[in-house]
């Protein structure tokens, strides 16, 4: 299986990411089995699939915080900006958005100026960034996470449902922003999404995960009613499968 950006297949010679025969499991229960795919430089790969298909698990293996079998190879000098799905933080933590961004900038050896740049990019007001992160709304918090991921000039953005909890117009502007940054900076983007219209609009390629089987290709060929039915399963069949888990 190989994913190539439309009209730039020559770039796949040195892909941004090469995944070969990767298996990930928890306590002997396999979540992902022998997954193989490539991501071309500058492409936008959407990772889709039903709940429990292992999308976030794959993302964590890709950044190296979960053990796996097989090979995951990022291109040389890859710098990943990661947006996690949800964070386990207390609401009364006295850490402001600004504290968080400054910490990210200090660790990434980025300048202070970059903080205001990324705040502008994601459309987060400085007065919001001065609030404790527990006091931010879901949408403001997601913007903060995307802003943090952009600090330090990453070459790859890995986003686990970046627009979860963001209101409808906010989602659109955030997705637009991510696409604009990709174009401007020539970033490679991997994003997990449940919103198939977003996938259709922004992804150059799609990787679908579904219990043991995976498929990938351009959105046109993947997002067909037939394949989607297969991927998400008939509602009854899927529920039976889910309930039968220990």
């Amino acid at each position: 299986m190989e994913i190539s950006r439309k009209g730039s297949s020559a770039k796949t010679v040195h892909p941004a990411l090469k995944v070969v025969n990767v298996s990930i499991g928890f306590e002997n229960i396999p979540v992902i089995e022998r997954l193989t795919f490539e991501v071309a430089h500058g492409s936008a790969l959407a990772i889709i699939g039903p709940n429990g298909a292992g999308k976030s698990v794959l993302a964590k293996a890709l950044i190296g915080v979960l053990p796996y079998e097989g090979h995951i190879r990022w291109a040389d000098n890859t710098k990943i900006g990661y947006v996690p799905q949800k964070l386990d933080i207390e609401r009364d933590l006295p850490i402001t958005g600004d504290d968080f961004l400054r910490a990210k900038a200090a660790v990434s050896r980025a300048s202070r100026g970059e903080i205001s740049d990324v705040l502008g990019l994601v459309g987060l007001k400085p007065e919001s960034a001065n609030k404790p992160i527990g006091a931010l709304s879901g949408g403001q918090f997601q913007r903060l996470l995307v802003a943090a991921a952009l600090i330090g000039h990453p070459t790859v953005l890995l986003l686990d449902e970046p627009t979860a909890g963001v209101d409808e117009p906010g989602q659109e502007s955030l997705n637009h922003t991510i696409e604009r940054i990709r174009d401007e900076r020539g970033l490679t983007i991997l994003f997990i999404s449940h919103d198939l219209s977003v996938v259709y609009q922004y992804a150059t390629n799609v990787l679908c995960l579904s219990r043991g089987r995976a498929c990938c290709g351009v959105p046109r060929t993947i997002l067909t009613p037939q394949l989607l039915q297969e991927l998400y399963g008939a509602p009854v069949g899927y529920h039976v499968h889910d309930d039968s888990r220990p």
């Binding site: 950044i63 990661y82 207390e90 850490i95 402001t96 504290d99 660790v107 330090g152």
Partner: protein, 252 residues
């Protein structure tokens, strides 16, 4: 114990170190761990008394070994830190109370009185300086790892190693307060000022400053009150700190 220069200097150093480390301990939800880890010092103190070496040295050694043990078990098994600390701490307390008896046990549990030697003061100040330097220099990494270990990892931080360093610094801080407060009360010096600051502070800087201020105020004021009222310094320090915490509850 008298209110000499050594005592005052160490009260400042231990207070500042405990205030800083406490902030991250509280934010990392290690409040229970703080109390439990301190008990690990007890068998070390007991062993040191048996071998006729300085009790605090035994306590420090036991704390460092215990910390490595907790970290090691945590990384090798999927047990929660709280569970491991719970087990390690009860075992330590059991062994410790077998080895120490009578007055020595009371002193180890509630803190000692008596004059600080120049050696103790210098050692304490060096340790306090090390702890303060660690937190100040590593605070950005600690913040990132606290908010999201995954983001910290992708930013190039070895989170596991950072956790170990933090635990070791935490153990050293506990050891710093051991002499005054004893095994049972020392955890509160790390936790109460930071918990007060967490209620009052609205940013990291504010929390760190308030915590250090409350902590130093508690150690110095507590020591002075203990001398004036002829009471054990440990209890007075904890009561002063608890007073600040109660005051912080007044603020909505």
């Amino acid at each position: 114990m008298t209110l000499d220069l050594n005592t005052v200097a160490l009260a400042f150093g231990a207070g500042a170190a405990a205030g800083l480390v406490g902030c991250f301990a509280v934010m990392r939800r290690m409040t229970l761990a703080a109390d439990a880890i301190s008990h690990i010092a007890l068998p070390g103190i007991g062993l040191a008394i048996l071998l006729h070496i300085h009790p605090i040295m035994g306590g420090v050694a036991a704390l460092l070994v215990g910390t490595l043990l907790v970290w090691g078990i945590e990384n090798r098994t999927r047990l929660a830190t709280e569970t491991i600390i719970g087990v390690v701490f009860s075992v330590a307390l059991a062994i410790g109370s077998l080895m120490t008896t009578g007055e020595q046990l009371i002193e180890a549990l509630f803190g000692g009185v008596g004059r600080l030697t120049a050696f103790e003061t210098i050692l304490g100040l060096v340790a306090a300086f090390g702890v303060i330097a660690f937190v100040v220099l590593q605070r950005q990494r600690l913040v990132l790892a606290l908010v999201s270990p995954e983001i910290a990892h992708t930013s190039g931080i070895n989170v596991q190693r950072l956790n170990l360093y933090f635990l070791l610094v935490f153990a050293i801080t506990i050891a710093l307060g051991l002499r005054y407060l004893g095994v049972l009360l020392v955890g509160s010096l790390v936790i109460i000022p930071a918990a007060t600051a967490k209620r009052l502070g609205r940013s990291l800087r504010a929390m760190l400053i308030i915590s250090v201020a409350v902590s130093i105020a508690s150690t110095t004021l507590g020591t002075w009150l203990a001398l004036a009222l002829h009471r054990a310094p440990g209890s007075m320090i904890v009561l002063v700190a608890a007073g600040f915490f109660l005051l912080s509850l007044l603020r909505r």
